[in-house]
């Protein structure tokens, strides 16, 4: 009996070893001696197919490098996290959450310097704020979106009022929303009941406030008068009935033509166009008492190199290709181009639905999201999210001042 057990164990061990052994054999080379670069993307389906086509193009142009696309899709964060834990990160990967992953990423400043002065300057300035941490660049920008005010032209015509302009303040939005509500019965404006705290900080910035100071102190910032003013304004709009707090982003309501205005990124432009929705896009309204124009948050993506990569030269070669003018043009329709030259040559600014996103991009430079300052952002974000919900959820609508004081004291 004992012998049997030993035999069994030995067998299992041998088999296990054989299995795990396979994975360790490679050393960044393919069978035919090319340098292998693993590239992880979060895209799926058609987007991943398009990426594969572009990767193939790169491989055709290079005799000595072979890039292998690994499309992780929704599992992206889990897999990158696991990869970094096991020191088996792909050489090149898409990236947005720099604060969480910077420890496993290669700073790219020196690589960029070798490309000359013009290289970095061709990207929009603001993008670097979101692809760097502590003064070091960890990713080359791929795409972005700022936020802007979408409005439904048909609803404005029905209500017989002037359409929004780039000079609007929130007071103008309120007036228009009231008019829409009383004349058409539709809601004038919608905002998210449970906004992503990361996105929401843009309203605080626009009103000369922020979640925290440079040291990450919430108290006196998150619960400052300027900050409370912002929350109070949105809550009042919902309380007074001409605005609605939506369960999701508000896109469904806007598409269905049941709300007149909402603030969102460029993500849904394609579907609005497909629907044939009659809409316009302008800058985010400004706060009247603020010292400057409105500011937008950036949702940006970049491409990063793993610090553990064994083929950094080849990886950089691929990153350069992936962020080139050619690739920026290739991605139009899926991503807003990040290179000034491409925006110019492709006439992006002549398309009215995109202009506001670039204006917002240019006027949003110099702000650092709290997620880049506070180490425990992920948990803080959950707490903030709960606080915002307490302020905006129609079954709660708690007192702004009390909720924010409590959140800041934590």
């Amino acid at each position: 009996m004992k012998k049997k057990l030993v035999a069994m164990l030995a067998l299992t061990m041998a088999a296990t070893l054989a299995f795990t052994g396979c994975g360790k054999k490679e050393d960044g080379k393919t069978a035919d001696g090319k340098t292998k670069v693993r590239f992880a993307s979060w895209d799926t389906a058609e987007d991943a197919d398009a990426q594969q086509a572009m990767v193939d193009k790169f491989n055709e142009q290079h005799d000595d490098i072979e890039v292998v696309l690994e499309a992780y899709g929704g599992e992206f964060d889990t897999k990158i996290a696991a990869g970094m834990g096991a020191k088996d990160t792909p050489d090149v990967m898409y990236m947005w959450n720099y604060p969480a992953y910077a420890g496993g990423l290669e700073p790219l400043d020196s690589y960029m310097e070798e490309e000359g002065e013009g290289y970095k300057d061709n990207f929009y300035e603001t993008l670097w704020d979101y692809n760097s941490l502590d003064g070091k660049v960890y990713g080359i920008p791929i795409g972005f979106t700022t936020h802007a005010l979408f409005y439904n032209k048909d609803i404005f015509a029905e209500a017989g009022i002037d359409e929004p302009t780039n000079d609007w303040t929130w007071d103008d939005v309120k007036e228009a929303a009231k008019a829409i509500e009383s004349k058409t019965g539709k809601k004038g404006f919608s905002f998210q009941m449970k906004p992503d705290p990361y996105d929401y900080e843009m309203y605080l910035w626009s009103n000369d406030a922020a979640y925290c100071d440079e040291e990450g102190n919430l108290d006196g910032n998150l619960n400052s008068d300027k900050s409370k003013e912002v929350f109070q304004m949105f809550q009042d709009m919902a309380k007074e009935g001409y605005a609605v707090a939506t369960e999701k982003s508000g896109t469904d309501e806007f598409r269905a033509g049941s709300t007149g205005m909402y603030v969102y990124g460029s993500w849904s432009i394609n579907s609005f166009n497909e629907d044939g929705l009659n809409y316009g896009v302008v800058d985010i309204p400004a706060f009247k008492g603020a010292s400057h124009d409105s500011v937008s948050i950036l949702s940006s993506s970049g491409i990063s190199m793993s610090a553990d990569s064994k083929n950094k030269e080849a990886a950089w070669e691929f990153i350069k290709f992936w962020t080139s003018e050619e690739m920026n043009k290739e991605r139009i329709g899926r991503e807003l181009p990040v290179l000034k030259t491409v925006v110019e040559t492709e006439g992006i600014m002549e398309q009215p639905e995109y202009v506001a996103f670039y204006t917002m991009l240019e006027q949003s430079s110099g702000y650092t999201p709290a997620s880049f300052i506070i180490d425990t952002w992920s948990e803080l974000s959950s707490d903030l999210s709960l606080s915002f919900e307490r302020v905006y959820n129609p079954s709660a609508l708690e007192d702004v001042s009390a909720v924010l004081d409590e959140a800041a004291a934590k």
């Binding site: 067998l11 296990t16 299995f19 964060d77 992953y101 369960e247 079954s395 709660a396």
Partner: protein, 306 residues
């Protein structure tokens, strides 16, 4: 000679080897590894640090959400498990009736089980939408002003329970096969004695299928504690964290907040809770579960007396 004998004794193990390897590598290995992790402060990047029972102490003394989530999960299990079993049993009884087209119904009831959890969540997200959801529309037809299911904290957990009852199919199927196995002559005899259908159900069907009830009870207790997909996609734990299930909390601690050690400790506490509950159910089972093979002798004697 010796070699031959070895081969003879080892052969069966060769056959089960793939399974054994799978079990060791993908089940036991990670299980033990997670237990080890639970004693560490295990960040995503950087090196783990041994903290002994630190994670467990933090959980029970400092983490408010731990208690809240545990209560939410218990509440969910307490409502979901009995409700789900009653619905499953009811449907199983329906599809055993000799009605025309019963196969069609059987398929219809089972289909939701085949649909992926993600699709189900999205589907229910639409059905339960407070403003244009189908459910509230139907309720409005009979004059009820439906609640904002996914926005009102008081109703969200009800919404989750309704949505999860959608996947009742596999349990129904298990009941169904067991009910089908009950010999028809038992019912015939009862009929002759003038037993009503209700009496037949409570005196024949129910006692005979108690082993299946036990099985379904245990598996549904376990699955209700492990519920993650549905709440993650349907409510995201909200509104106001009213559906922030224990499983979701564990998941978020691991993959959102990247506290792998702490999340492992969460998971082990859940494991122990499930273990205790299952043990209690098993303990109680001798009082209410009826095994034909065990009771066979006694039953025959009884019959003989008559």
């Amino acid at each position: 000679m010796k070699q031959k004998r070895f081969l003879k004794t080892a052969t069966p193990y060769f056959f089960v080897l793939p399974w054994i390897i799978g079990f060791l590598v993908f089940t036991i290995g990670p299980l033990i590894f997670s237990l080890i992790m639970s004693f560490f402060d295990w960040p995503l990047i950087g090196s783990p640090e041994f903290v002994g029972f630190g994670n467990y102490i933090e959980m029970f003394t400092k983490d408010e959400q731990f208690k809240k989530s545990l209560v939410i999960s218990l509440k969910y299990a307490a409502i979901f498990v009995p409700l789900n079993m009653i619905i499953a049993l009811f449907l199983a009884m329906l599809i055993t009736q000799p009605v025309k087209g019963v196969r069609v119904f059987r398929t219809i009831y089972y289909i939701p089980t085949v649909i992926s959890g993600v699709a189900v969540s999205i589907l229910w997200g639409w059905i339960l939408n407070g403003d244009y959801g189908v459910l509230n529309y139907l309720l409005s037809l009979i004059g009820i002003d439906g609640p904002k299911w996914l926005v009102d904290p008081a109703w969200a957990i009800v919404a989750v329970i309704i949505a999860s009852a959608f996947g009742v199919g596999s349990m129904m199927l298990i009941f169904y096969t067991d009910i089908k196995n009950i010999p028809i002559d038992v019912y015939e005899a009862a009929n002759l004695d003038g037993a009503t259908p209700a009496r037949q159900f409570f005196s024949i069907t129910l006692p005979i299928i108690t082993p299946t009830i036990l099985f379904n009870l245990i598996t549904s207790i376990i699955s209700s504690f492990q519920q993650v997909t549905l709440v993650m996609l349907l409510t995201g734990g909200g509104p106001l964290k009213s559906t922030y299930f224990y499983g979701l909390m564990t998941y978020n601690n691991a993959f959102k907040h990247h506290k792998l050690g702490y999340a492992s400790a969460n998971a082990w506490v859940m494991f122990i809770i499930i273990l205790i509950l299952t043990a209690l159910v098993f303990k109680s089972s001798s009082a209410w579960v009826f095994y034909e093979t065990e009771a066979g002798g006694a039953k025959q004697k009884k019959g003989g007396k008559k």
